[in-house]
Amino acid sequence: MKNFLALVFTLFLGFMIITALSNNEAFPKYGEADVSTRVSQKYLDRSVNGNPGEIIFREATNLESGPANTVTAIVADYRSFDTLGEVTVLFISSLGVALLLGSTKQRRMELDFHPNFMLKVGSRALFGIILMTGIYISIHGHLTPGGGFPGGTMIASSMLLLYLADDEFRAKIKGFKILESAAGSAYVIIGLLGLLIGSYFLENLLNNGVLGYLFSAGMIPIIYVLIGLKVGSEISGVIDNFLTEESV
């Protein structure tokens, strides 16, 4: 009975959402969004503080926001305050998992499956490849899709591979904590430096370089590397907390 009522309620709600959106004359139909009336047009043209004209790949120099990837420009430059909040959410989640599941003496959890020698050795070869892919994606965030968050998650997934393939492996959690704390503080300190040296919090202080080169976009690759390290160490900490238990 309760399932039936819930089904009726959700069908009714879905129907209501669809009718409200179709009858709404200001809500554009799928595929007909007019980007020129939204704030995003100025993000695409990099013309929030003055108009640089047409932007050509590998020729435009020192734009107001350097990355070739406009999504990175939004996440790490125009709206980088939201990214600071997001980094804080991950920080506090990993801290919360450590609070809930952590204890003083810990050892790896006993599982029924014991991996054999080939798995343990072979996974180390794969670990290096995955780690390098994660670092590549994290560094090239301003030129290709990706950036710090997927890169950091790949770094953490390389740690997960080692945890799953070897049931006695434990990473050095103290080192991860120091890395996480240092990367997070560095992000806030970069912001405060922008306030002290420039005039705005989180202002991009370095030269933005030529659009499309690896060394361009000012501080954004630095910020993305910091975020990648932070996310990687946080999620590795979460994995460690889930796969360990109290040792007697």
């Binding site: 709404n24 909040g85 804080t88 920080f91 609070l99 704390s181 919090f201």
Partner: protein, 459 residues
Amino acid sequence: MSAILLIAIPLLAAFISILFKKASPYILLFVSFGSVIILGYLPLETITIGGFSAPYGINLVLDQYSLIALYVVDTLFFLIVAIACVKYKKISTVLLVALAGLNGILLTGDLFNLFVFIEVSGIAAYLITTTNKKPLATFNYLVAGTVGSSLYLLGLIILYAMFGTLNMADMSANIASSGLTIAVAFPFLLMFIGLGVEAKLLPFNSWAKGILAHSNKLTGPMIASVYAAAIGFVFGRLLTSVFVFSDKLGLILTIIVIATIVAGEAMAFASGKVREILLFSSIAQSGLVVLIFLQGFVGWGVFLIVANAAGKLILFMIANHASDELGTDEVKAFKGLFVNNKVIGLAFTVASLSAIGLPMFLGFVVKMNILGDLFATGDYLIPAVILITSIVEGIYFVRLLMKLWYKEDNLPVVQYEFVLKYVVVVLAVLIMLFGVYSAPVETTANDIDANTIVEGGNL
């Protein structure tokens, strides 16, 4: 001195304090005290972040409304931390992030940034409630909070698709100039429901019973007083500056809120446990705050939040300490509690009488002015609801007070430490002071009303 430091410094302190675990409670005390002090040196302005002015970048708005909100929330936060940090040392990093998140909620001028900071302080709240040692109640809170935030984000995205901007001031200007009041009703309803989950409005407040009925000295005051005040201020900002109400939407929202008030008071009347009485009264007060903002009275809404937050801090702190010591919170076990703790009892009495709205207390001044303004607009239903619920509130609070002051044979023995006594007495004295000498309260409330640019709303 820029208001961004209110958010950046607690975050920096939180990132650093996980390396210095032993010193973290002192860092917490220092930073929360510093954030109260720094409020005196901040000029009222709009702060751009990153060099890109609104609406293409994010901006923080520090006007008179935010300044009062920041004073209230930061001061109460510092008081709770000062009392409770001795016992709950492990959670100090989470409290630092909660402070940064609460300041972010009150300062921001961008709707998506508001979502991010609501999530930050929400997750900090879930972690604070884990000190209750009731994981199922925390899990319910987590699920309810996440669903609420998702509904808020859905409404926000529909608004973005319609108007193309995420900034609060820009959005309200676009809505006013486009004249589409019916079409925006649906996203506004979604956003209202999303925020209403955290504000304990019916029917989304099932998490509140689990969390607050078993709360301890840190969780109870923090969730019921500080977080409730912050969400109330956010509602005030959104309801009066951004939202535009068609008549039908206003009617639906008013019905939801009145149902909350009535249900809250009724369940408080029927309850036999002290913490439950207090938490249902909190639910009803949240509903009342949203109702006042719905009618458009910004200044008196602000002071209702202030009076309510200070009062609930006193009530929850006293009740939770006694529950911790006695192990139960049935009213029968509390009988005669105040006979040996006269100072505490006086503070509790002052706070509860202010909540009812008796003369000589701040609650009376607030309620009188609200009722006066409502009668002036010609509405009779809402003042009637407020008066009837105040009478019900009066009955159960006075009943509780009589039981607690009653002289009996087996008196419960509860010791209150000096810091707690000091804090609740100071707050109680302030409530009485502004209740009697109410001129500055009235001028400030009228000031806020005049200065708030009401582009939406139904004033």
